[in-house]
């Protein structure tokens, strides 16, 4: 669709461009440290390198979902109801799903190497998978065909239902399957070498930077989407008029 080209093109500003470059640099440095400079683990071997992405991604997924839930609550509360909260809720949920996907993929690869199977019905895996599905459902609600404020309100309710479900799911699954062996892995290694700790730290830095970059761009895109949704018909009519196939504004109003 062309009409938006009339306003600002793209979602970048000088600040986000700098942020983008810094993010890319951070990812490159993380790659260097995680894949080359840091040593392989005594027990896990090279598979430990997956954790430099896996652990930060998991934290960022939780951060995104927490932000999404807060924004949903602020939207539902009549005094703080602003379209911005609705957008933020949707945008952070999307990013959260992305990071959860990364967590699941890196986790499955790690599991294949360490446990010999991509999937086990372990508590942490199961609850993460459910978390993923819950928020895929939330994103489906956000894409439903309805008026903007109807969709916003319904999405906010789903956002709250989902976040309330997360601890219950976690508790139920944990109880069902017993404790997750993986959660203690870093504690089992008090002598995690300085380089490994630093690589993990870099993972968090690169993750946070990517999170901020994605958030800003996706949020601006959401603003543009909303604007387009509000005026696409006007813009389309304008386009047709420019083509000269439709009579001028006054006549078109008939």
């Amino acid at each position: 669709m062309k009409p938006m080209a009339r306003g600002r093109v793209g979602t970048g500003t000088p600040a986000t461009r700098v942020l983008g470059v810094v993010t890319l640099a951070a990812i490159a440095v993380l790659g260097l440290f995680a894949l080359v400079l840091s040593p392989a683990d005594e027990l896990q071997g090279d598979s430990v390198r997956l954790l430099y992405v896996h652990v930060p991604a998991a934290s960022l997924a939780y951060l995104s979902f927490a932000m999404s839930a807060m924004a949903s609550a602020l939207y539902l509360w009549p005094r703080t109801r602003r379209p911005g909260w609705d957008r933020l809720a949707g945008v952070t949920a999307e990013i959260g799903v992305l990071f959860t996907g990364i967590v699941l993929i890196t986790g499955m690869l790690w599991g294949k190497v360490s446990w010999g199977a991509y999937w086990t019905w372990d508590a942490r895996l199961t609850s993460t998978a459910l978390l993923f599905v819950l928020y895929v459902g939330y994103l489906a609600v956000r894409r439903m065909p309805a008026a903007v404020d109807v969709r916003a309100k319904r999405s906010a309710v789903v956002g709250l239902v989902a976040i309330i479900d997360v601890p219950i799911v976690h508790w139920a699954v944990d109880w069902w399957q017993g404790q997750h062996p993986q959660s203690t892995i870093l504690h089992l290694h008090p002598k995690i070498s300085g380089l490994m700790a630093f690589s993990l730290f870099l993972g968090f830095v690169a993750g946070l930077l990517s999170f901020a970059w994605l958030l800003m761009h996706r949020y601006r895109l959401a603003v543009m989407e909303d604007a387009l949704e509000a005026q696409w018909l006007d813009l389309a009519i304008e386009d047709r008029q420019r083509e000269g196939t439709v009579p001028a504004a006054g006549a078109a109003a008939r």
Partner: protein, 236 residues
């Protein structure tokens, strides 16, 4: 609020009593599911009996989706949703009424499914009453079913209202509803396993903590429904 709830629940149950959609379509569907499970799992090797609690609750979840859809389709037809808003009833009351009517229908469904499971899978013939009293077993079964049903009905009423009137409602509802109620599925299945001793080494008292989980789930979602239902209804 409770008067409004009784009005709405009475209306829904009256519609069901006259149209008999749940009795004539949803219950037979549930029984079909039970038979399909028997086809999937070799019925001669006792697999069915061991898996009964899980199969029972899966069947309940699937039929609950249908019941929720039915419950809110009757509001969509003839602009019943606008009627609800015009009626001036308390949204919290409407939520309680819808959830209550749903819960009663689900309980009836569960009773039917329970009989079906007992007959088709031979679950009731387990030597369960030897060490634990019949009373203790039925107390666990009944409280599990009751609390699980309240949780399912509350979640269902919330999501049903949310998906109602959308073109995508039939596909959206299961996607939202089933993952959300997965704790109910886990909790109710484990509690039933304890009660029926179908799992290895299951003791009766191990079921009660799961009942606590179900109670927590039910309480949370009833509370959320009371608070959030207004926001779902006040829009067109």
């Amino acid at each position: 609020m409770f008067r409004d709830a009784a009005l709405i629940a009475g209306k829904d149950l009256r519609i069901e009593f006259r149209s008999r959609v749940t009795v004539n379509q949803v219950v037979p569907f549930a029984l079909v599911v039970l038979v399909l499970f028997a086809f999937a799992l070799d019925p001669d090797r006792g697999t069915l009996r061991v898996a009964t609690p899980g199969l029972f609750w899966i069947a309940v979840l699937f039929t609950a989706v249908l019941a929720v859809q039915r419950s809110f389709n009757i509001e969509v037809a003839d602009a019943g949703r606008d009627g609800l808003r015009l009626s001036g009833l308390d949204p919290a009351g409407i939520f309680l009424g819808k959830a209550g009517a749903l819960a009663l229908q689900l309980l009836a469904l569960e009773a039917t499914l329970g009989v079906g499971v007992a007959i088709l899978y031979g679950t009731a013939s387990d030597p369960k009453a030897e060490t634990a009293g019949v009373f203790a077993v039925s107390a666990l079964l009944v409280s599990t079913a009751l609390l699980a049903t309240i949780g399912l009905a509350a979640t269902g009423a919330l999501y049903g209202a949310l998906a109602a009137g959308l073109r995508v409602r039939d596909t959206l509802l299961p996607l939202l509803f089933l993952p959300t109620v997965s704790p109910v599925m886990i909790g109710a299945t484990r509690a039933f396993e304890s009660a029926l001793r179908s799992g290895p080494g299951n003791q009766l008292h191990e079921g009660w903590p799961w009942v606590g989980l179900l109670a927590g789930f039910a309480g949370l979602y009833v509370a959320l429904g009371l608070l959030a239902f207004g926001a779902l209804l006040e829009e067109a």
